[in-house]
Point group: C2
DNA sequence: AATCGTTTCATACAAACGTTTGAATCACAG
DNA sequence: CTGTGATTCAAACGTTTGTATGAAACGATT
């Protein structure tokens, strides 16, 4: 029952922290939701702050196990690995069969960093960044500056993140109260093709009915 | 002096709300920062909540005036207008000569909507979305689904937003404590070329030393 | 059964919160 | 100068916050 209360507290805390943020979530609400006594938080974790950090750490552990990155066959083309990567990222974010708060609490941390942010980046973000950069390295020419490699990577994950972080805006803009107007595989395909085309490793996402010579900027002509 | 304290309260509130969020910001801190009495908030605005909404509305008004969208010459190529649009967006976000909290408080609102969110979308976001879609319509073939047009637009602004919303991660990842490792025009150029190339309206952001035939996915071959 | 360390519980505490109040102060018209 | 409405002020309001405390309940070991 001891570890059980501990775990119930982490789950309840995660849900409420993710929903309301650190300050707005009260220890009393968390304990009530967990079916635990008010003093349990201080007994098991030492305080509200430590409970929060524990919840964040727990969330990132679970997420990594929930949707692990696939092991690619050695001969898999880089473009296909990119598709897998983006698909996995979307699944991690938008899949509804896992507790929502795991991702939510981490994104809160990334947008407004607290002390737990560095840990999230090191343990969760950096491995993803490394995986992406490894894929991109196979897709990009060797004589490319580090700066440009970063920017291309950011352009890729920026697209994916947008669909999650700014879901409220998307719904308001497209006037679709439901968010599932864009099915997951459609989004993953779009971002993959968008990115591949941008770096010259695939065809454009749309077929231009006229040559683009007329619409390109002067600077590039 | 009456309207003066009112304005000082809005400014102080904006700064603190943007920095700490709604719940963590206390009316006492705001009044101290504004050099006003504790009761001033309730006298001038009716309460904390109303002050917050007022600050958000004030922020979006200022932002629109600060960095207005340029008037394009009628014959300006769509690709150049896209470059202008992206450049303006970056300036609105990353330019440091304007009070930071204007944008910050709006982005908070967009990520975690409160009652003020719909107003921000209608008055600030939708005009930007319309401007972008108008540009993209000139760049895209006519026989394209609304769904795809939205996705291409989201892929564009998603890139821009990433550099602002996730600046902390960028610094941690690239190990540059300063955020100015990516100068504004460089970012704008990159996103523009990335987007143009993706939709087949410009050359890839990098020159592929080999034909991409070997790296494209099977599905597309 | 007695003892021990662990966990739960009801309760209390001081601090901070948003809000209210009524008197004091101001600017200005009569 | 006097009166009046708008504004500021110090003080206090009742809640809610996170945390602390000591007694009760539990489980395992002796």
């Amino acid at each position: 029952m001891a570890d059980d209360t501990r775990q119930r507290l982490i789950d309840a805390a995660g849900t409420i922290f993710a929903e309301k943020g650190y300050e707005a979530a009260s220890v009393r609400d968390i304990c009530t939701a967990a079916g635990a006594n008010l003093a349990a938080v201080n007994y098991h974790f030492g305080g509200k702050r430590e409970l929060y950090v524990t919840a964040v750490r727990h969330a990132q552990c679970c997420r990594q196990e929930d949707v692990p990155f696939p092991e690619y066959p050695a001969d898999m083309p880089a473009a296909n690995r990119l598709r897998e990567f983006i698909g996995t990222m979307f699944e991690r974010m938008l899949s509804t069969n896992r507790p929502r708060w795991h991702l939510e609490i981490m994104l809160r941390e990334l947008a407004r960093p607290t002390e737990a942010c560095a840990a999230v980046v090191d343990d969760y973000i950096r491995p993803m960044a490394d995986a992406l950069r490894s894929i991109l390295n196979d897709l990009l020419p060797e004589n490319l500056s580090e700066e440009q490699r970063w920017m291309i990577g950011f352009s890729t994950v920026g697209q994916v993140l947008f669909y999650y972080v700014h879901q409220p805006i998307i719904r308001l803009l497209t006037q679709n109260p439901e968010g599932n107007s864009f099915p997951l595989p459609l989004l993953a395909d779009h971002v993959t093709r968008f990115t591949l085309a941008a770096i010259g490793a695939g065809p454009p996402v749309v077929v231009q009915d006229a040559a683009f010579a007329g619409t390109r900027t002067e600077a590039e002509s």
